[in-house]
Symmetry: C2
Subunit: 389 residues, 2 copies
């Protein structure tokens, strides 16, 4: 069975604000083979990723991505790693490849699941274990705002994460008030996680000033103290604190995630399947993490299509955490429906449906569709009108 | 003085072949401020990089690159690192950023040199030391072809490199014949360098089978035995062989190059200024390498504009090697002139001219100019006709 078509749909909210919310636009990929249809979502700049699909050949290590997909034999589940290696080799000098491949890989897994009549996770293991969902949100501008947000985390969540905002940017006393407010709001019995959003760059001493604070408030993990590639700094901090470090959302290859485990000393490796190279690369990291006694966690901040994809690679891990977007944008709802329903214990599981179990509805997403046309020497390389929903 | 304009010129040979030669197309960047003009060159997929310049805002960590450049105050030489950090922070979720920033950074350094009336290297140190040029070429399809190529390396070159081709893909005996031919052709007194082009992926044992061969023929370095991120594999091999390992051309951040030094055990770190984030990032690596007793080497396979940019970051290192493209394509000559002239000892130095000292001539490059138009919801985001040479 040959891959007959690869389409990409650039969706965007009517107004996009210069704020951290990464769910304001999205590139949705659709692959087709033998009458089956698979859907995936990239965590990527949509227009740049479209260009990567169709950019003219530069040389043998810089092919347009689409040329490695359409017309190829649909790989079986055991052939996806080899399929990946070929795409990456043919486009290794095109940096945007990993982001583009992520959405395509997810769509291919959805398709493979449908063709084989099975959920994606079933190719990785017999069991689909629930994970403890955590509610992910930003620190408020003031400690009292953080307290209110923490209080309003729905009771079914057994864990909550606060991040970014003013934390790490002001005095130590201010950070203490923020942490105290978050802990008081979520209460003593739920897990409190902290995400400092790379704020300390490569500065270990500034980060280390917060060690006592995070330990005092029994923080479950300390996410992204440093820039994504600051492995030596991760390692130094990990040796000074009892709080386990977490990171990895910036990784766009499985190797980069492995480096955080091998050299950064993280206790949690957080992988965005929509960026690291899809389910195939995320699964490689999940396997490696398990082998190294590091907990694999998804990174997801957009739709239920992305959430389903991100839960598949470690569905067979018997326990762990899962990031669940708390408030879905209208665009995210259009793609993947209403926020995920947790089980009564606050757990979240990959769907039992075939493939990924989340299929965008053309009529629902079409209001967000962006028109893009790319012309080169008078020839149309891309016209969104050719990508029919 | 404000940065008034950033233009990008997509240049391409009339025919681009599906071969390894990365000089068949190029994206040249031009920045302007206060009547001065600076030029730079990316080692990047041109169309994808243009899209990264103008892609609509996705969120606060995914701005189009051009929005971080035009209208900004022209940084002084000491402000370039801060300028960099800001561009990368504003576009950290746009993977193609590092490749785009590389060309812009090089053009900015050229501009800064012209504004301050000094060559770029003079901002890094008082001296501009020559490096031993090596001629870079591919293994022939047969040992006798390799022998002929090695024989025809111009006599002024004190070192020659052979790479890719059949090496590592066939039997050990075949690799031995290739190495013997290369060594016989270059003679016993010139340095022979070998580039295995990532052929062993993550497979240490297959690479290790070649250790005795490379030692037997006194190979000066063993370049890219593994995939760019295979740090543990680099480290394992480095402990088994006396031949120093080399790598780094795939790095698109200074951190990634540091990892090859810290964890990969390389003896030579090879950086492409047109990919790692320009001269600013390459200079960070050059400083770090020196501190760690690792030799910094440029990676350059295109024009003299790229070669000049790649020599600046380590001009103050008292010795070392430099990669010099042996045969320039017509496009490379149009951009930066005829192949670089070596000094009588086979050395190569950065020019003494202001800035980078290599300025493309509009009439020479215009025959290679590609027309690109990118439209979004009926609005023209990019039209190459607006970028006037």
């Amino acid at each position: 069975m040959k891959i007959e078509a690869l389409d990409a749909f650039y969706l965007r909210m009517p107004e996009v604000k210069d704020i951290g919310d990464g769910s304001q636009d999205v590139l949705v990929m659709r692959v087709q083979a033998g009458g089956f249809v698979g859907w995936g979502e990239c965590e990527a700049s949509p227009l740049t990723t479209i260009a990567a699909l169709i950019a003219p050949l530069s040389h043998s290590a810089c092919h347009p991505i689409r040329s490695s997909i359409v017309g190829q034999e649909l790989p079986g589940p055991d052939e996806m790693e080899a399929f990946h290696r070929r795409v990456r080799e043919r486009s290794s000098d095109l940096l945007q490849t990993d982001h583009a491949l992520s959405g395509i890989d997810i769509a291919l897994w959805d398709l493979i699941g449908k063709v084989h009549g099975a959920p994606v996770w079933s190719f990785f293991g017999a069991k689909n274990h629930a994970k403890t969902a955590y509610a992910s949100q930003l620190f408020g501008d003031t400690p009292s705002a953080t307290y209110e947000d923490a209080r309003s985390v729905p009771p079914e969540f057994r864990a909550a994460k606060f991040g970014w905002g003013p934390f790490g940017r002001a005095e130590l006393a201010d950070d203490r008030e923020q942490l105290a407010a978050a802990r008081e709001g979520v209460g003593p019995n739920r897990t409190l996680l902290i995400d400092t959003g790379c704020v300390f760059g490569h500065d270990v001493s500034r980060a280390a000033e917060r060690i006592a604070l995070l330990e005092e408030f029994h923080v479950g993990w300390w996410e992204e103290p440093f820039a994504a590639g600051a492995l030596a700094e991760y390692s130094q901090l990990s040796k000074q604190t009892k709080t386990k470090l977490a990171g990895g959302e910036g990784a766009h290859t499985a190797d980069q995630a492995r480096h955080l485990i091998d050299y950064g000393g993280v206790g949690f490796i957080q992988v965005d399947a929509g960026r690291i190279g899809g389910i195939t690369a995320a699964r490689q990291v999940a396997n490696y993490a398990r082998q190294k006694n590091v907990q694999f966690v998804n990174h997801t901040f957009t739709s239920n299509l992305a959430l389903s994809a991100s839960l598949q690679p470690y569905a067979d891990h018997p326990s762990g955490y899962a990031e669940v977007p708390l408030a879905a944008s209208d665009l995210a709802i259009a793609i993947g429906g209403m926020p995920w329903v947790l089980d009564p214990d606050g757990g979240v599981s990959a769907p039992g449906n075939l493939g990924l179990g989340v299929t965008p509805e053309p009529l629902a997403i079409s209001p967000y569709l962006q028109e893009v046309e790319i012309r080169w020497n008078g020839k149309t390389l891309w016209n969104s009108l050719d990508n029919k929903l």
